[in-house]
Subunit: 423 residues, 2 copies
Amino acid sequence: MEQKRPHVVILGAGFGGLRAAIALANAPVDVTLVDKRNYHLFQPLLYQVATAGVQAGDIAYPVRSILRNQKNLDFRVTRVTSVDVAAKQVQTVDGVIPYDYLIVAVGGSTNFFGMQSVAKNGYGLKNIEDAVGLRNQFLTMVERAVQEPDPDKRRAMLTFVIVGGGPTGVESAGALSELVHLILKKDYPKLNTKEVRILLLEAGPRLLPVVPESLQEVTAKTLWRKQVDVRVGAKVVDFDGEKVTLGSGEIIPTNTLVWAAGVQAASLVTQTGLKLGSMRRIIVESTMQAPDHPEVFAVGDAAHCEWQGRPLPMIAPVANQGAEVAAANIINLIKGRELQNIQYKDKGAMATIGRNEAVARMGTWEFSGFFAWVFWLMVHVIRLVGFRNRIMVLLNWAWEYFFYDRGVRVIMPNIEKQLKQEQ
Amino acid sequence: MEQKRPHVVILGAGFGGLRAAIALANAPVDVTLVDKRNYHLFQPLLYQVATAGVQAGDIAYPVRSILRNQKNLDFRVTRVTSVDVAAKQVQTVDGVIPYDYLIVAVGGSTNFFGMQSVAKNGYGLKNIEDAVGLRNQFLTMVERAVQEPDPDKRRAMLTFVIVGGGPTGVESAGALSELVHLILKKDYPKLNTKEVRILLLEAGPRLLPVVPESLQEVTAKTLWRKQVDVRVGAKVVDFDGEKVTLGSGEIIPTNTLVWAAGVQAASLVTQTGLKLGSMRRIIVESTMQAPDHPEVFAVGDAAHCEWQGRPLPMIAPVANQGAEVAAANIINLIKGRELQNIQYKDKGAMATIGRNEAVARMGTWEFSGFFAWVFWLMVHVIRLVGFRNRIMVLLNWAWEYFFYDRGVRVIMPNIEKQLKQEQ
């Protein structure tokens, strides 16, 4: 009897993949969840790792612990190289995994829009390595600047350019400003904070397009008060590691560029042969199925799903809602029932800009300031996987809040002995 | 007046370097402390990072924060390449630093005793990269073993060889056993823990030579109860990444060898031209001065200092006591006073073997079990630099103790964007 149960393979243990796995816990199927990492990463707080607010392990939780009690699930840590949708099998570096149903939930990666120089010299902010690398860069630049006699070189070291006016860019700029002005200032008596320049560049006409205009203004004003130089209509065209070139021809000398201006589906989707839409996402119906492959589903940042004439955005609530629909429809297909369509519920949007400062929209309700900040804290701590991680993150935040301190200001070089599978 | 103050350069921000810097806080000197890392590392707990007990950031604390209020001190993050004792200057990758007095406190590094194969394929346990690399290795081996059908390969993956019966080897073996049998067992229902083999190999006749024989027996018995296979008189001669070869000719198939069997002074000491003693340490008088260079001091793991006919051991209390003497003698030289000699006080020795289990000797007082374990906890938490780190480590330990859990079971690959100075 065990042999006859349909086999569901889920690629990716992010928000979508985990949610789908859990939704299939009591279904008459065997589930294999595959990820190249052994942990689920709470991506919304990556910027806090980059700005020394929390440790990497605080926002990464072992997948096996989350799904410990799910009897019909097998988790495999391996790297998927391609999907053969005709043969219904997934190719991994450790062999082939056949499936009856597939959920592609591989998530997103940084989209540099073909700018090789920015990809090579800039920092993305999509995974732990990005975040720790960026923290090392921020701290190293300050460390070197205080020893640098040449004022031009010193200015370039102390200029930090963040590109992208969405939540990640806004949150990174606010947190970096507080790291410099509230914390590093105390550690570096020689640091002239007037020489520090944090620029937030947005190519479009305004910050946070997902919130109403009044909140956009609050955001810009708050960042300004935190000495972040906000520029809209500023398009980056090149970054050679020493200077950023804008579309206008303007040159900004800097050693640090954070690219938070674009995401696209992870590269694996190009190895599926499936039809791709915007941001190279797999085009799916409102049932989350690929059009010619009813047994193949895509969710989250890997899926292009039209809703009211536009593709759904690449955010966590879309991943969660899509995963629920995909899991339900696999059960519906097995039981011969009618399929359901996604009914997207907009949960709103929010961004924190620093101590006591956030903006939030829920439906038509919008608010900002201290209350929005507390709300942001609550939502993020509740969503953070793992009771222990929640406690640790809360304690870290409480410490930092009351003592104007950050715990993780250590520059950690690379890990020399690499995983064999990563080589 | 500022110009005329003697310039003291301290190389290394470990126990010895930090202690010397603090001891010179009110002296009429200018101090430059140099380290290639921006953090002080609490090395005694590295094995807990390796076994997923605490995060790397919990045992690393920014040097600048520790010495924030010391007015006569400048801290520089740079790599020292050599010391020219004739010209009285230190060569770094960022230029030359002249000194009037020098304290070499560069610490120790793993000593593989010339065994290239072990150095290449084994893991040391002297820095953060070692510890995180080893944690990755432990977790990856278990992850791969549960997918491995070949029983011989699986056994090799699940065999962990720890070499060296000193405190580091004993503590690592005990902690790894608890990680496997108390924690990973729950995460990996497919893992047959009877296939897991943890070997502790000691070339000499007994474990923990620094404690009395009765405690050595307690240690061996406790490890045995934790299913650690303890072998004395077992000398490793080769490790090719797939099997360990012993001096007796015996072969142990394994993918993981932890080398905790030897330390030597960090390699910089060979670039000083100073006379080296055992474990390539700089030979110093009981005043901590190099014989022909009264302005050059060496302390801690970098110093070979005879005491009662034998060189002092490479442990933290020796580093701290030597640093106090070196700092005092620099002041004595400046003021034309008589120099003092080190009067080594043996603070005893201890090792923890796991939950509720430790052995300790203080003077002639020796004890083991729960009380020794609580004592070990207290000493280590009190010594851990930084109030915040102490709280975090205590909370982690409390959590693990009561919930039989470990927080940091994440396999983190290398950080792709490296520090420029590390390249």
